[in-house]
Amino acid sequence: MMGINLFQILNGLTFAALIFIVASGFTLIFGLLRIVNLAHGALYLVGGLAGYSAAKASGSFVVGALAAMALVAALGAVLDRGLLSFVRGVELRQVLLTLGVAFLLNDISLVIWGGDTFSVPVPEALRGAMWIGGGMYPKYRIFVLILGLLVFAALWLLLNKTRLGALIRAGVDDPEMVEAMGINIQRVFLGTFMLGAALAGLGGGVGGAFLTLYPSADAEILVFSLAVVIIGGRGSLVGAALGALLVGLLNAIGQVMFPELAYFVIFGPMAVLLAFRPLGLFGRAA
């Protein structure tokens, strides 16, 4: 394949890591709470912009990322408790409601930050490039790749190896039973929702440094997250990781080989996959 080299593969992997961070939050909420949060892309954008402002004001990238996570987690709590509680249990109405919230958040961020493109400032230590396999590669992207791996590991451990993870999984299958055992399942669900939202905020804070933030970024990242979750299957962490890997690599290849039709290169395979497995690679029937 002409033009595909280590550099592009690394681009694909680092992009995959970023969309995994965002999509893992989406799949957490979708898989465990059965809520399709179409405001996830807007949460990413708001998180990124807030992270940008906080990083500018404090001069610290870490403060920016933490502020992004905190703000978006709070927004998630408001969304879950303030609005979604009115339509609990009706899937389609939940989805459409979050869609309305997405429009609202996107428009509000347009009012606050304007229509300009922002780039979250990268800390000194992560600027510049480093030698990898005989070529130079931006340090920051390597950092995102490592962060993506860390998020995957942390989520996997949380869900599979902790009491909280067991509670979440049990709560999905049989909320009444968990409730009867004296556990406040609603609080567990709220926490899950906030964690999922915070991951969107983290994605915004981190992604804002190499994808930049602009008014339609929320829609683009939402589509990538959707593709990841559709390919991976609902609520599967491993599926999301594989989906992100596939989407990231296809995106890198597509941008080099068919720059104008890069979207087709990503979504063509997704379409073919769906023709054979409508529930995605790791999807289970509900």
Partner: protein, 307 residues
């Protein structure tokens, strides 16, 4: 009656209002095309804005870039929309509920991405400008009549469709897919045909929109187009085909009123969506029907307390 009232409207109203009503008629067709799926087959689509917009893109590309005849352009646009609906349908009909919504959303976004990036053909963000309406429908009133002449029989056709045995089968599928399957109905085929027909109607709306607006850009195919059209169908009442007219009128009048004061239309659209989902998910006409049915129920059983 309604038709008669619509026919004499331009005689009384200033041209701006006539063009707003023209817009309402065009978007009613789009909203009804969504309702065929959402209300009768139980499949909520978020990709219809893309199908609608592709029809517009093809028609304008044919006339302005290739210099072709506008009517052939519109015919090709409708054909393209129908074909695109076929592709969407083939991918989406095996899913239902939230998955169907997500899939049509993602497919619509692909179309949007292609329209945005494929600058050589679509003009990218700048969009494409058409060659304008033919002379005989150039002014507001005559164009209004032209649209009315198309929309009236089209509405009748859609109404016949959802009240035909085919439409009843769709409703059966909406209520219980497994029952219909065990009764021997070819469920995927019915859904496929319904989606393609729905795409055809959305394509016609896109063709009319070309004549109305003479301009197409990625914002024509983007998600907010699908969303506002779906909101029209929902506001009118899902499953009440003619409610789409009420919904389209409500949303378009709201849009015009809001944009006269503020540029924050997306916020208003978002809030409207949230409020309708919380308070009136069955829509205006749907709610009216519900109340009417309750009243009938009460009056037919006077001794029965509670409704």
């Amino acid at each position: 009656m309604v038709l008669l009232a619509l026919a004499v409207l331009p005689a009384f109203l200033p041209s701006y209002q006539v063009s707003v009503i023209t817009q309402v008629l065009i978007f009613s067709v789009l909203a009804m095309s969504i309702d065929i799926l959402a209300g009768f087959a139980g499949r909520t689509s978020l990709g219809h804005g893309a199908i609608f917009g592709v029809s517009s893109y093809v028609a304008i590309y044919w006339t302005s870039t290739l210099g072709g005849d506008i009517w052939i352009g519109i015919a090709l646009g409708i054909l393209a929309a129908t074909a695109l609906a076929g592709v969407f349908a083939a991918l989406a009909i095996r899913t239902s509920g939230v998955y169907f919504l997500l899939l049509t959303l993602a497919l619509g976004m692909i179309v949007w991405g292609v329209c945005l990036r494929w600058t050589a053909v679509t003009g990218g963000e700048n969009g494409l400008r058409g060659v304008g309406r033919p002379v005989f429908i150039a002014d507001h009133a005559s164009f209004y009549y032209a649209v009315l002449i198309v929309v009236a029989p089209l509405t009748w056709l859609m109404w016949r469709l959802v009240h035909s045995p085919f439409g009843l089968t769709l409703r059966g599928i909406r209520d219980s897919e497994s029952r219909m399957r065990s009764l021997g109905y070819n469920v995927p085929l019915h859904l496929f045909v319904a989606f393609v027909l729905s795409g055809f109607f959305a394509g016609v709306a896109g063709g009319l929109y070309v004549l109305f607006n003479n301009f197409v850009s990625p914002s024509t195919v983007q998600l907010s187009q699908s969303v506002s059209a779906l909101l029209m169908a929902i506001t009118g009442g899902v499953g009440t085909l003619l409610g789409s007219f009420v919904g389209a009128a409500a949303i378009i009048v709201l849009e015009n009123a809001v944009s006269a004061y503020t540029a924050r239309w997306p916020s208003v659209l978002g809030i409207a969506f949230v409020l309708i989902m919380i308070f009136a998910p069955e829509g205006v006409v749907g709610r009216a029907r519900l109340l009417l049915a309750r009243r009938r129920f009460r009056s037919s059983k006077p001794n029965h307390s509670g409704g």
